[in-house]
């Protein structure tokens, strides 16, 4: 069971922040993901687990506005109390703007989320400029603060990401995503490709940030220990479909579906 119950205040919120309705995407005859529906509430962290090829990354690409689903809707509440937007009804430019301001996407490979030839401070500050900030001193101050929060020394602010280790690059990417104060963050295998000791540090950092900021987040991972530590609820995917969903510790400790039982029994201890 979770040792630390997420304290995020979920009460009093009347509406989901994101609502997926029968989202499907096909690659020719092959199913990418099919008929996926769920609501995500403010402050809630949803994990999507499954093996490679289960459709979890395809689903994340649809939910985060990168790929258009072949059927279904992705509805998003951009600001509290605002009308739901069907994100794929928006003009391309508006959707891109939404993705840069109200959302954050943390890619598995930091190179996909960072500009490798721009300084660390520039990577973080760029998001603020996207949002309309123009005051250089304030942007640099915010960048410095965020580097410190993700445990990168302020003295490295002018270094390029390629001078950083893999773990530092990933932390920098997280700073770049969170600096613009998004309502919703998507993460694709955020600890993939990192050494176990580096993973632990990153996980603890994510856990604290998600909690302190009250973020809603969708995290795709094949690592059930990561899911247990970071998520409130889980969807288990197989062959593009959700086979089981529920409270994270319940799904992991008392899995009902044959496939989830196979997944949870294949690891030594989660």
């Amino acid at each position: 069971m979770n040792a630390l119950v997420s304290p995020t205040a979920l009460q009093g919120t009347l509406r989901p922040i994101l609502s997926a309705r029968s989202v499907s995407r096909f690659y020719g005859e092959r199913i990418g993901c099919a008929e996926v529906s769920f609501d995500l509430w403010p402050g809630e962290v949803l994990g999507i687990v499954g093996e490679s090829g289960s459709g979890k990354s395809t689903l994340l690409r649809c939910l985060s506005g990168i790929d258009r689903p072949d059927a279904g809707e992705v509805l998003f509440e951009a600001t509290p109390g605002a009308d739901f937007l069907e994100i794929f009804d928006l003009p391309e430019q508006d959707r891109r703007h939404l993705m840069r301001t109200a959302w954050g996407i943390v890619h598995q490979n930091p190179r996909d989320g960072l500009r490798m030839d721009v300084s660390a401070g520039g990577n973080v500050g760029e998001r603020l400029m996207d949002r309309g900030d123009r005051h250089y001193g304030r942007i640099r101050e915010a960048a410095t603060e965020w580097l410190t929060r993700v445990e990168i020394e302020a003295a490295r602010i002018d270094d390029r990401p390629r001078q950083f280790s893999g773990g530092m690059q990933q932390r920098l990417q997280i700073a770049r995503v969170l600096v613009s104060n998004p309502r919703l963050v998507f993460m694709d295998e955020p600890t993939g490709g990192l050494d176990v000791s580096v993973q632990a540090r990153l996980l603890d950092l994510l856990r604290v940030l998600v909690r302190d900021l009250g973020l809603a987040a969708i995290i795709v991972t094949h690592d059930l220990a990561v899911a247990r530590l970071l998520t409130d609820r889980l969807m288990v995917m197989k062959d593009g479909r959700v086979v089981e969903a529920g409270l994270t510790d319940q799904v992991l400790d008392d899995p009902q579906h044959a496939y989830t039982q196979l997944l949870t029994s294949a690891v030594l201890a989660v």
Binding site: M1, N2, A3, L4, V5, S6, P7, L10, Q11, W41, E44, A200, R201, L203, D204, R207, L229, D232, R233, G246, L247, T248, D249, Q250, D253, D254, Q256, H257, A258, Q261, L262, S265
Partner: protein, 238 residues
């Protein structure tokens, strides 16, 4: 006692496990369990090892799914059915109403013992300075040396980890507490502290359901007993 509100109401709860990858074998645990617990009661679950005591406790927490039946927990003055509630509702009930004290601490990398104990207070909105003070007082009461407080408990002994876990659970006792073998690896002195903590939580109005291996602890804390063996017999016969 009967003028106290019912905090837990278990109605017709049955549980069996189906092991899909082992020939779909079905393991019945218990059938048609009914009971309720009022504020200020300590209900001790009795029955031999393997009778399903821990499974029942996990079902009450929402950690296991019952095969059928209702588990109502009083939360904010109304009953919430844990068996059918949304995940976010269960998490909210756990945050403010429903606590689970297990034998084992799930260690999180880099989080200190003091922070682990402080966490539930912060989650309930207690001022950080006060939370630190109360967490320290609870660790001291459970005789955890102060030099360990700032360390992550990964390297602690089993008994030390267990005391961190107990401190976390009792630093701000929940209105409903589920307790699974809290004294398994504690010495007599710390066992006595745990007995006192349970008694204090009860006198503050917590409703408690527990499993206690230690007979003397069991005798000292129980206000009522429930032998779940005959629910088991019903499941086996079904």
């Amino acid at each position: 006692m009967s003028d106290q509100p019912e905090m837990i109401r278990v109605e017709a709860v049955s549980k069996s496990f189906t092991l899909h990858n082992q020939g779909s074998v079905r393991l019945p645990v218990f059938r048609d369990v009914n009971f309720s617990v009022r504020a200020g009661e300590v209900l001790v679950l009795a029955g031999a090892s393997g009778a399903g005591k821990s499974s029942l406790l996990r079902i009450l927490y929402g950690n296991y799914l019952p095969s059928s039946g209702r588990i109502e927990i009083r939360h904010d003055g109304s009953m919430v059915d844990i068996a059918s509630a949304l995940p976010r509702t269960i998490l909210e009930v756990r945050r403010r109403t429903l606590g689970f004290v297990s034998q084992f601490l799930r260690v999180i990398p880099r989080v200190s013992a003091l922070d682990i104990v402080r966490d539930p207070l912060l989650a309930r909105g207690v001022d950080p300075a006060e939370a630190t003070e109360r967490a320290g007082a609870m660790l001291a009461r459970l005789n955890l040396p102060e030099r360990l407080w700032a360390l992550a408990p990964a390297t602690f002994s089993g008994g030390e980890q267990q005391r961190v876990n107990i401190a976390r659970s009792f630093v701000d006792p929940s209105p409903v507490m589920l307790i699974d073998e809290p004294t398994a690896s504690l010495d007599a002195r710390n066992r006595d502290v745990v007995v006192d903590l349970i008694a204090e939580a009860r006198s503050r109005g917590s409703a408690i359901v527990g499993i206690f291996h230690d007979e003397s602890v069991r005798e000292r804390v129980a206000t009522r007993w429930l032998d779940i063996t005959h629910f088991r017999a019903a499941a086996d016969a079904a």
